[in-house]
Subunit: 365 residues, 2 copies
Amino acid sequence: MSKNKKHTDKQVTFSEKASSSLAFKIAKRQFKNKRQKSISEYVEGILKGDRFLLSQAITLVESTRKKHQQLAAEIVEKCMPHSGESIRMGITGTPGVGKSTFIESFGLHLISQSRKTAVLAIDPTSQLSKGSILGDKTRMEKLSAHPDAFIRPSPTGGSLGGVARKTRETILLCEAAGFDSILVETVGVGQSEVAVHSMVDFFLLLLLPGAGDELQGIKRGIVEMADLIAVNKSDGDREKLAKAAKREYRNALHLFPPKESGWIPKVVTCSGLSGLGIEDIWSIVVDYKTLTRKNQFFVNHRNSQLKQWLFDTIDDRMKQLFFDNALVKAHLDRVENAVLSKKMSFSNGANILIDLFREQKPSKE
Amino acid sequence: MSKNKKHTDKQVTFSEKASSSLAFKIAKRQFKNKRQKSISEYVEGILKGDRFLLSQAITLVESTRKKHQQLAAEIVEKCMPHSGESIRMGITGTPGVGKSTFIESFGLHLISQSRKTAVLAIDPTSQLSKGSILGDKTRMEKLSAHPDAFIRPSPTGGSLGGVARKTRETILLCEAAGFDSILVETVGVGQSEVAVHSMVDFFLLLLLPGAGDELQGIKRGIVEMADLIAVNKSDGDREKLAKAAKREYRNALHLFPPKESGWIPKVVTCSGLSGLGIEDIWSIVVDYKTLTRKNQFFVNHRNSQLKQWLFDTIDDRMKQLFFDNALVKAHLDRVENAVLSKKMSFSNGANILIDLFREQKPSKE
């Protein structure tokens, strides 16, 4: 449904016979797609919950074209006062843990609780040509078909900082469109989890039954980040194994330092396939929201995250400015090699490159 | 022993009677202090293991004066090819865990193994007037008196990035001076542990016996960072408690994802006071070095850390440049408030400030 500028223009004839045909309707829609929409059209549409316009706006957010980015910036800004009314959950787990099945099950449960659910994804490895496994609608067919659900694959390419910025703005747009449950999924490898953790209220870690190999592919630090660990695939033969893993993780978790939120992380078993434990997981999230609303952590955390988004974006752009600088590019490898071979101190190396960036004569060479 | 430029100049008379007096010797030394030493004097002295010159060089590294920084940069660079021959250990733990007593005990053991030991500290809260509890020689009297030990308090003030840069350069200088065991201590609160973790080979976490309250003050994520957890104060009544804590942590640790180094983190009990377990801890560190030398992780990790130091320093200086910019300073609060009150998107806020930094007309206001 996303706006595709590669469609060829179709001539439209307005004969009565044609006007009633499906082909005409499609052509008319395509024509409408190409007509530049005003910012207020987007904003009004989003606020009314128009999924098509929401989708188009997100595409603008993700676009690398300057014109689109300017448009997107306006739209996001006008939607901002209408954002924030949601619970944001990060969901991570090893490949093979059954994330898609879980998310579908969980999403459908949320919808049954009259919640409109958006499923987003962060996958910095996702590329234009290959797409991303995350947020893949074909793996969540039932959910993607539901009018109260909205699934969007990861933004593609660029730095993790760029992907994070796009996902954050997408969260804001979805909230403005009335989605009150935002699920952001990521694979448990690389740095995405830290990024996701910085944009959600609650962090869920999905694990396989048994303990040991199952942690392969989970980056260190993520276990401590989790507000809830759910041992998935607790069905049939594996139920016993899953319960044993649950006990082990419960014992382990109480050895961790307390969380700033005052929340004590929990461990449960569940089955994305059968639906077992899904309801329980949601009520745990509700308990979390209740506790943290009460002790002000929820709103303080949202504020400090928003502030962090501002500074992360500045940081990301400063880095871009720096590494795109012609003089820096010309000297970077040389300086890096000199530092690694201990011919140059890292401090001098940094000074040389910064001076080049500032287009000053290097203070030391 | 650090160079103090606030000493008043003393007139020196060279009469034979005066020359033999202690007063004369002190005055002569003070005069020598003030004479500008050449870079090669510092470097040669450091390479010979002259602790006084090492100390002075570190003071230059820590100085905020431009002239000192330039001198320091030269000295560090010339010492670089002679750095690296050491094991670098980070030591952290809650306040009250007995870190100083442990470090003294551990340091004396290393010295008994013919190793020259430097004890450094990172404490970004340390201020010029107050000094820092860390690296406090009065708490490690025996060790600080030993000729093969070198204890240095934390650099003061500034950003964590600034403190980290100074400590890293201090590590390099100590290594050039022949110290082959570098201990970097930090308190388990704030962000220092991440910084310390980025500059050491091996990370030791000291905990108190019992599990639960003892983790108060330990930042989340640190348990997962540890290569070794030592439950301290395992003496007398507390021995049983310490051993119980050890078992719990052993069970918990095996639930964590594997480390990149291939090393399996260990848990032991010890007593800084009695010396129990100290020898064991050192042989664990030796095992770690053996394993990681064999699988190349040690050298690869040192290289990627050195590279990271370069980029961290660039990052820190770019941030300084940015936040010291007059236009940015003038508008920062306003933009921050607009973002927090959802009147402005974080992305637009970042753009506005970046444009100001680049002294361009803001693209959007």
